[in-house]
């Protein structure tokens, strides 16, 4: 009786989350197609073998790595930390204004963000206008460097989260420790390397983990900006999955890709929970 209130939530989670994940495991081992109705046979590991032999799949894995590395690990994480650090030293109006702009970019719906950065990176968009004005060569970014364009879009959209996490972490460092180091003559770089970073290492770990997980599942941003193109040059795993399962009607194959994505996510989740050492 006491545990009865858990029932509605558990039921929903089983039906719409555990169910699809289980179904995902099953479908990934079949040759289910969207068209041609009832042909669904067990094919064992064929979908996975096919994936690892498929140049387009390997391309998607590589682009996912680039996208995650550039936008989450380097971009969101480092810029977020830098912003949080600078804000502690900056004057109040500048701090407030910067915070508001960065957070607004985060709160905006995904598709609006995609649309804004599409406009920013287009040949006739703002970035090229600025480059022209500086007499630097302009180019069609969405065509020449599509994966970098979508990575920057993800940085624009996701940095606020890191900034908030690091602001909280930095404000918990006791002032006397940094002051003592300053008196001892440690310069800024050494203080950062030997005091600040070690003291916030848990926040760095959780932040990297959460950034990476949310970046792994980005679909709308990329789909709206480039649709994975031109060709497949910005086709990360979620876009590849969608393309195979729905546009090419290979549900079995697309699901196998989804399952791999889910496994990577699960792995990260476990590391994350370990890292948090949650007490519940």
């Amino acid at each position: 009786m006491r545990w009865l209130p858990l029932a509605p939530a558990t039921l929903l989670l089983l039906l719409f989350l555990a169910g699809p994940i289980g179904y995902c495991v099953w479908i990934a081992f079949t040759n289910t197609q969207l068209t041609g109705s009832s042909t669904s046979d067990f094919v064992g590991l064929a979908n996975f073998r096919r994936a690892f032999a498929d140049d387009n799949f390997r391309n998607a894995v590589w682009l996912t790595l680039v996208f995650t590395f550039v936008s989450s690990i380097v971009g969101q994480n480092t810029i977020g930390l830098a912003l949080a650090g600078l804000m502690r030293a900056a004057s109040r109006p500048v701090r407030t204004a910067t915070g508001a702009v960065v957070i607004a970019a985060w709160v905006l719906p995904e598709i609006v963000a995609a649309f804004l950065l599409y406009a920013f990176f287009r040949r006739e968009g703002t970035l090229n206008a600025i480059l022209d004005w500086l007499h630097l060569p302009s180019q069609n970014w969405l065509f020449t460097l599509p994966i970098l364009a979508v990575s920057f879009a993800n940085v624009w959209r996701g940095t606020a989260f890191s900034m908030l996490i690091y602001s909280a972490a930095l404000s918990e460092i006791p002032k006397d420790i940094t002051e003592a180091a300053e008196v001892d003559g440690a310069n800024g770089v050494r203080r950062l390397w030997h005091i600040t970073l070690p003291m916030i290492r848990r926040s760095i770990g959780t932040n990297l983990m959460l950034n990476t997980l949310s970046t792994l599942s980005v679909f709308g941003l990329i789909w709206a900006m480039t649709r994975g193109g031109p060709g497949n040059r910005s086709q990360t795993l979620p876009v590849f999955m969608y393309d195979q399962a729905f546009l090419k009607s290979l549900i079995g194959y697309g699901t196998a890709v989804a399952l791999l994505l889910l496994l990577v996510g699960a792995l990260f989740s476990i590391v994350y929970i370990r890292l948090l050492k949650v007490e519940v």
Binding site: W3, A9, L17, M87, I103, S203, M209, L261, I270, I273
Partner: protein, 274 residues
């Protein structure tokens, strides 16, 4: 000049540079929405006008999709918050061998990439005839936010002292009565945060309704805006910008409402997906 002043000025300068870089796309949105001849560049409108706004304020472009969004996200939010509040109560109040694994599973689930399961979800929805139904989509949306809502709700509930509850227990109140009359009113601000946060996440969700809804008259704003600018070439950028502003305003306002409580440490309680 004193050293502290130099550091402050340098920090200010660096922040201003970053802020301007982040601001440019936003500036384009605002300026273009007021410019009848807007293109893809940031520039001041020669004669500011509200023409774009009046052009998109029609049933077909704005009101129907926004109403769909509201129905879809509103019902999903209510369902999530109700289920999360119920679930959080025993998890917060009773100790058993079972609650720790349950909570760890919940935390684990908050981190899973929901994008990955959309293909099987679509397959499942086809089989049980839930595809292209608002209630089906809203059930899935509710479930997708449920793990994080339970986690958040449980943490807020842990902060409510149990003294008053114990008094109610001795007076013979049932568990549901204690929860709704005593615990939930005491954690009002926490409940509001969970509710608004869930709503913001759902309002911006694109992939779920994009996959599960097909009829144009059922599409929420997150998907209708995409069909709007999906047909490149014939886009009237000023109108698209105006619609984007209308679509984004509710979440920006709601975020301001809860921002103080959302700051920093909150986020560490579990995954926050963008």
């Amino acid at each position: 000049m004193k050293r502290a002043t130099r550091v402050r000025l340098a920090s200010d300068a660096a922040l201003v540079v970053v802020a301007v870089a982040f601001l440019l796309p936003l500036l384009w949105l605002v300026l273009s929405s007021l410019d009848a001849g807007a293109d893809l560049r940031v520039r001041l409108p020669s004669s500011p006008t509200t023409e774009n706004f009046s052009a998109v304020l029609t049933d077909e472009i704005t009101f129907t999709p926004m109403l769909n969004s509201l129905l879809l996200c509103g019902s999903a939010t209510l369902l999530t918050v109700a289920c999360a509040a119920l679930a959080a109560y025993p998890l917060s109040r009773y100790r058993s061998r079972f609650s720790r694994p349950y909570l760890l599973t919940i935390l684990f689930t908050t981190c899973l990439p929901i994008t990955a399961i959309m293909v099987p979800v679509y397959g499942l929805f086809v089989q049980v005839n839930l595809v292209d139904t608002m209630y089906g989509t809203s059930l899935f949306l509710a479930t997708s936010q449920l793990p994080f809502s339970i986690w958040l709700m449980k943490n807020f509930m842990d902060g409510v002292p149990t003294v008053l509850e114990e008094a109610a227990w001795t007076d013979g109140a049932s568990m549901l009565q204690t929860l709704t009359r005593i615990v939930l009113p005491l954690m009002g601000p926490g409940m509001t945060v969970v509710m608004i946060y869930t709503f913001i996440q759902l309002w911006g969700n694109f992939f779920v309704p994009f996959m599960l809804l097909l009829s144009p008259d059922q599409l929420p704003a997150s998907v209708s805006i995409f069909t709007f600018f999906g047909n490149y070439g014939s886009v009237i950028y000023g109108q698209l910008a105006a619609f984007s502003i209308l679509y984004s305003t509710p979440v920006l306002l709601l975020y301001i409402l809860i921002s103080r409580r959302l700051g920093g440490g909150f986020a560490l309680g579990g995954a926050v997906k963008g």
